[in-house]
């Protein structure tokens, strides 16, 4: 065996074998190896050698190591702890600031982890999730892909024709829901009922509690119910064979399944066969009846691209020929995994990836601010630590030992901050969940996941915060330190840059949240063109057995002349929903769309929408209920301008426009005012009753409406809401995030402010003698304050200048969502700046003034 080249096996042996045994063991192993070499050849002999070495890795050998080697280091480590503890105690404020900042940062980091993992966990529990797709119907407007609109409503005969004609589809199911009255033992309940095809059970993973998968939903009268609903409706989960009446049909419970978890894009609780879907009964082969979403499960060998290609032919065959939609249409398959993030299409629980990024960005900023605090504070404190390092080095500490000491210190701080942040997160989570409509809990993770995530968090934060002190402070040359020759200039520049970044990111957050706030205030207080106060909306969209029109008529007679009830009307759809539309292509190829909506008498009067021209609908003109229209200004403009009264509506030669109303924001302010035409609901049903009540004694008016409902419809509960609430609901997802962002902006400002406090405290302490001398020479308290705060004010101004374009960029991107934007002016930028500046000055002066006021004699005697 050659001396110079030590084989791996022997090196391995040396790594664990006790020194005093090493020589003979090595000798024996080599002897054995040389024997093997003759017997078996080099390769096998080497293998045997390695194996023999590995066999020596056993307790009986390992325990013969002399552990005294390590004990030698113990006093040193003990000393590290002691000095760390002393420096913590010596600088209590600094330590506290670090702990607070880092616990904030860790809380945010964990919250983001929880949130993102929750987002990613959506729909994960379906075994076939990789093969299940939602079929979206995509319409290209003007041939421009940016203007394409996707919808999930598909024609009623679509699903089964698709399965029959396009190869590669294993299962197909329609999926729709309706609010229905359930009749159980003569008790009425209002519940969401889902209509699906029998394949649904084969595609999606339902955990059955009762019933067998094969036999279910075979009959049209089978009904499936979740355990939670079963307990709500029957008081127990075991309800197999019970009867539920929906819409005059009796259903027999044939299966009970475990309710889907919250992180699910589909949440059916009561399932019946699709053939019971009311429109299906009438129009099951009507290609113009666009109703329900369709899910397909592709075969294992079919890809999305191939199926989309195959569907193109299908689309041109059925959709082009059968529908009025002459635009470019195609079918888009969205995988179940992506539905949750597909915010272009309205869907249950759908969320925008943007929000994960926003939360991630905020976390980054808070983490950044807290870590900078740590770095700055250890830099500012390094003057007093420098001597310690110098002495350690002179005694013989290596650079890596000093690094170990500083990493250890930052990890200790993190270890203290970690439990604090977990507790605070635990307290915050319920509020966060309520705000975001989530169910995220700290204890939903397995222990393994917790340990790995906390480990990662500790190491990340430790590296970010502790790296600089560890690497830079350990690099000090002992002779320089002991000669008091610290490179102060470089440090000042570096820490100045850090402070600028810190405040720039805080200011960005603050400016953005202020702009968002203003936008929301503008949206909520803006004159929408109608009076939304004291309007009660009664929901008629259920299968009530009584038509909406009859209910409205009876409401009118019942509530007439009641005190508190001022006016009654009806509308075919919800506010914000597009009821119906018609698109045309003009000679230049541009497509224009108009929207239609049915309303009842008094609609415009009730909402106080002023007329521009003509008149309102009136019972004095009987022909109003046939083909007379009232249009809004946009409609008039689009179809040839004012005066519009007397003109005809495009597709109806008998029609006549009798009035033009002023534009009002029928939809949310994220959209522009669209051209609308209103007609009386002769051929339509009403979805909502509008009741204007007087501002006095609202509860009694509500009571009257409830009584009236019971009389007209029956004993089911009335579903009502206030119009202004409903309008504000449209902006809920914005207000949610504004709250999150503004709270985090304030938090990060607070952390940065604390950091500033710490730095100034330290720098004032380091310059105590200077203050004393200056005072002796005649400096006033005020001039001292100015001297010390001047540089920080300058830094904050620089930070502000940096923050302006960044904040501007982000807020403009956010405002893109709205058609009606708040004006971003000087104030939106100046107010956060002055708040920050004021806050910073307060912090600085409070710490300087104490030192500046002390007797100079004491200051000079300091140390």
């Amino acid at each position: 065996m050659e001396q110079e080249k030590i084989p791996f096996a022997i090196r391995l042996l040396r790594s664990f074998c006790p020194l005093h045994l090493l020589e003979e063991i090595e000798g024996d192993l080599i002897q054995k190896y040389e024997q093997d070499l003759k017997l078996y050849g080099e390769r096998k002999a080497k293998r045997k050698l390695l194996w023999n070495v590995i066999r020596f890795f056993r307790l009986a050998i390992l325990m013969r190591n002399k552990f005294t080697v390590y004990i030698k280091f113990m006093p040193m480590i003990k000393n590290y702890f002691l000095t760390a503890w002393r420096s913590f105690l010596k600088r209590k404020t600094v330590t506290l600031i670090n702990i607070i900042g880092i616990s904030f940062a860790i809380s945010f980091l964990l919250l983001t982890c929880l949130f993102i993992l929750d987002e990613l966990s959506f729909d994960n529990f379906h075994h076939n999730k990789n093969f299940i797709y939602r079929v979206d119907f995509s319409v290209l407007r003007n041939g421009d892909p940016d203007l394409s609109e996707r919808s999930t409503s598909l024609p009623l005969p679509f699903a089964h024709t698709l399965k029959a004609e396009v190869a590669g589809i294993e299962y197909v199911t329609r999926f729709d829901s309706r609010n229905n009255y359930l009749l159980i033992n003569k008790d009425k309940y209002l519940e969401d009922v889902h209509y699906v095809d029998a394949d649904f059970l084969k595609m999606f993973t339902l955990q059955l509690i009762e019933g067998a998968r094969q036999s279910q939903l075979k009959n049209l009268t089978d009904i499936f119910i979740s355990d939670e609903k079963a307990i709500k409706l029957f008081g127990k989960a075991s309800v197999l064979g019970k009867r539920i009446d929906i819409d005059n049909t009796s259903y027999i419970v044939s299966g009970v399944f475990k309710k889907f978890p919250n992180n699910s894009s589909l949440n059916p609780e009561i399932i019946i066969r699709y053939e019971n879907f009311p429109p299906f009964k009438k129009q099951h082969d009507d290609w113009n009846a666009y109703y329900s979403p369709v899910f397909v499960q592709l075969g294992k060998t079919t890809t999305r691209q191939s199926i989309e290609k195959a569907s193109q032919l299908f689309c041109s065959k059925h959709i082009y020929n059968n529908s009025r939609a002459k635009n470019e249409t195609s079918l888009v398959y969205t995988n179940l995994n992506n539905i949750h993030f597909d915010s272009e299409v309205p869907w249950l629980n759908v969320s925008n990836v943007k929000y994960s990024y926003i939360l991630g960005g905020i976390t980054f900023i808070v983490l950044f601010v807290a870590c900078i605090n740590y770095i700055l504070l250890s830099l500012a404190g390094s003057v007093s630590r420098a001597k310690e390092i110098g002495v350690r080095k002179v005694i013989g500490a290596s650079r890596s030992m000093i690094q170990f000491q500083f990493w250890g210190e930052s990890l200790t701080i993190i270890a203290i901050a970690l439990p604090i942040s977990i507790v605070s997160l635990h307290l915050i989570l319920p509020q966060f969940n309520a705000l975001m409509h989530r169910e995220i809990y700290l204890f939903q993770w397995s222990l393994f996941r917790w340990v790995s995530i906390l480990g990662t968090v500790m190491i990340t934060v430790g590296i970010l915060a502790g790296a600089y002190p560890a690497l830079v402070l350990s690099n000090f040359m002992p002779e320089k330190i002991l000669k008091r020759n610290a490179n102060g200039k470089f440090k000042a520049k570096f820490s100045g840059a850090l402070i600028v970044f810190q405040f720039a990111s805080c200011l960005t957050l603050l400016i953005c949240s202020l702009i968002m706030f203003n936008q929301m205030r503008m949206v909520q207080t803006r004159d929408l063109g109608f009076n939304k106060e004291q309007v009660v909306l009664v929901d008629l969209s259920n299968n009530l057995g009584v038509s909406g029109k009859t209910i409205l008529k009876n409401f009118r007679t019942e509530l007439a002349n009641q005190t508190g009830i001022m006016m009654i009307s009806g509308i075919s759809s919800d506010f914000g929903e597009i009821p119906g539309s018609s698109s045309r292509q003009d000679s230049t190829g541009k497509i224009t769309t108009e929207y239609y909506c049915a309303v009842d008498y008094d609609f415009f009067e009730l909402l106080k929408i002023p007329l521009v021209e003509g008149r309102y609908f009136s019972k004095e003109f009987p022909s109003d209920s046939l083909f007379h229209y009232i249009v809004n200004e946009s409609f008039a403009k689009q179809t040839g301008g004012l005066p519009a009264v007397g003109k005809k509506i495009m597709f109806n030669p008998n029609s006549e426009v009798v009035g033009v109303v002023k534009d009002f924001n029928f939809q949310s302010l994220t959209q522009e005012i669209k051209p609308f035409a209103f007609q009386l609901g002769k051929h339509f049903n009403y979805g909502k009753i509008l009741i204007k009540i007087s501002p006095e004694n609202i509860p009694s008016s509500i009571k009257k409406i409830e009584q009236c409902w019971n009389k007209v419809v029956g004993d089911g509960p009335v579903k009502y809401s206030f119009l202004d609430d409903q309008i504000n609901e449209q902006y809920e997802r914005y207000t949610q995030w504004i709250k999150v962002i503004s709270i985090s902006a304030l938090l990060s400002i607070a952390v940065a402010g604390l950091g500033l406090l710490g730095i100034i405290n330290l720098s004032v302490a380091n310059r105590t003698k200077e203050i004393g001398i200056r005072k002796v020479l005649g400096a006033t308290v005020f001039s001292l304050i100015l001297l010390f705060s001047k540089q920080y004010i300058r830094l904050i101004v620089v930070a502000f200048i940096l923050a302006i374009p960044v904040a501007n960029y982000f807020s403009t991107a956010w405002l893109q969502d709205f058609i009606y934007k708040t004006t971003v002016g000087f104030g939106e930028f100046a107010v956060p700046f002055f708040i920050t500046l004021f806050f910073a000055l307060l912090v600085m002066w409070s710490s300087i003034i104490k030192k500046a006021k002390t007797n100079p004699v004491e200051a000079i005697r300091y140390e």
């Binding site: 003979e24 063991i25 024996d28 054995k32």
Partner: protein, 111 residues
């Protein structure tokens, strides 16, 4: 009999140390085990046993002279102590005693 017991493998090693005398070290013992009683033993097992016997005071060890073989590593030569010898003797005698109790039967088929 002494309070100390010896395992079967320990006894084997101890006997071999006694037998090999100046040549008793790890690799040699392994070789002897293999050639004489056709028993394949791992080096690590032999070493561990040797250390244990040394702890118990049945053998003692000293480094042998440096050689050019074995990559220049010295051998550790084990020699049996009086206590070890006594132990070995005691064990042998007790075996003989016990063996006498066994009825002397002819082994079937051995001829």
């Amino acid at each position: 009999m002494a309070k100390e017991y010896l395992g079967e493998f320990e006894e084997l090693i101890l006997t071999l140390v006694a037998a090999l005398q100046e040549d008793a070290y790890g690799a040699a013992i392994a070789e002897e085990l293999e050639t004489r009683i056709k028993r394949e033993a791992n080096l690590s097992a032999i070493h561990v046993t040797l250390y244990r016997l040394e702890d118990k005071g049945f053998i003692k060890s000293a480094f042998g002279g440096a050689t050019t073989e074995r990559g220049g590593r010295r051998k550790r030569i084990y020699t049996i102590t009086n206590a070890g010898l006594a132990m070995l003797k005691a064990m042998k005698e007790s075996r003989v005693e016990l063996w006498k109790l066994v009825p002397q039967l002819k082994m079937i088929g051995s001829n």
